[in-house]
Symmetry: C2
Subunit: 227 residues, 2 copies
Amino acid sequence: MAAQSTLNDPTAVTERTESHAIESVSIRSTVETHRDGSYKLLFDYFRNYTKFPLSSTDEGLIRDAFKLKKVRRRQFLVQEGDVSKYICFVIFGALRIYSVNERGQEAVVAFALEGNWMSDWESVVTQTPARYYIDAVDHSEILQVSPAELHALEAKIPAIAEFLRLEQRSVAVTTQKRIHTAISMNAEERYQDLLEHHPEYFQRFSQNMIASYLGIKPETLSRLRKR
Amino acid sequence: MAAQSTLNDPTAVTERTESHAIESVSIRSTVETHRDGSYKLLFDYFRNYTKFPLSSTDEGLIRDAFKLKKVRRRQFLVQEGDVSKYICFVIFGALRIYSVNERGQEAVVAFALEGNWMSDWESVVTQTPARYYIDAVDHSEILQVSPAELHALEAKIPAIAEFLRLEQRSVAVTTQKRIHTAISMNAEERYQDLLEHHPEYFQRFSQNMIASYLGIKPETLSRLRKR
DNA sequence: TTTCATTTTTGATAAAAGTCAAAGTATGGC
DNA sequence: GCCATACTTTGACTTTTATCAAAAATGAAA
């Protein structure tokens, strides 16, 4: 399966991580501070989301496991048929995961912005070929970790173990809400729901992508917006 | 959120647990064997799904944590607004989780048959009022466990810890597939998809419920079936 | 078996969303 | 700043699905 993390249910956490994302963008002039800024967002993420402390030793272990990667706009991280190796944490930029059906129509399953996680879990976990594409909507910087490395960290760092527990729950909560929205609301209601819960998506993603996320055609979204 | 477990991705496991479900039904004449038969399905479930052994001591701990409950047709396990206390494992029968919108329309989020798990995870995990109703579609027998007890078992029994890891993943995989189906397929395609992946639902649930699960009206489902 | 309630089907019509084509509008790469 | 490309909007029309009403079919209880 595919999943964007939304551990941003607790509002306070989201806001803190997002402010750090901005910080990491503003200092990305030198390689060294940039690196630090990138990992700092991740460390703060673990610290804010769980109640466990994170020592500088822990930080070192995390730094070794998570590889920094820069991707340009439209660059693929995963293509359909690949066996996906990594789970991604977005430092800045935006990712999207989507499928393409036999008619060539795209369906956006999830977006990920700064401080969100993104992975084709089914592929990563079961080591089967991905059903989805993951690509960068904007120039982005991400941290990649393999499930094996993450599992190894889990045994050493309680904050990571706790994170994984909460993360999986959060994915389940988020996806279930989306099922509910998809099966019980019409196009207009889904649009209003997205406006309410993810107004930032409208700043960051094209109408085409938003329409695809809502499961409607761009023309229909355009008409909804006119009202 | 709400989630039906579908740890039945590995086909072999599903088939073994389902055969046990039938067994437990056939021996439900005396209280003692019935009890044993019920728990046996759960033990086998843990054994088949993970590679860790389960000692008789472990079985005793599990027996203490999971409470057997019988529910009659249409009986509610959770009502909207309740703070849900338990995670359920279905021994026999069928459960359904659904929402009711302001117009009184129901939307079935998930079904659970023998060997499946059912819970309003959001409510159970965050101790917030449930958005959903869970009720029995048929006379059913279920095992209930609180998240706290399950967490306690996790520390003592590796098979349980492994189960929880895999279970959460599985919920995520299943729900993600459902999102994909919901946003990228039309009514006919969703119907065909359900026929292919869950033909048993058509034996166990009314057309009304199936339609609701597919996000269409009963009249539309009836017309699709005519083809 | 008969009866009553519920579920499913059918038909006519309405509303929602999709399709196709074309005209505007942005915008990112040079 | 310009151009080519991609994105968004608009209009006319089609298809899909919902709605409403009523008739069959089913099935559970007396």
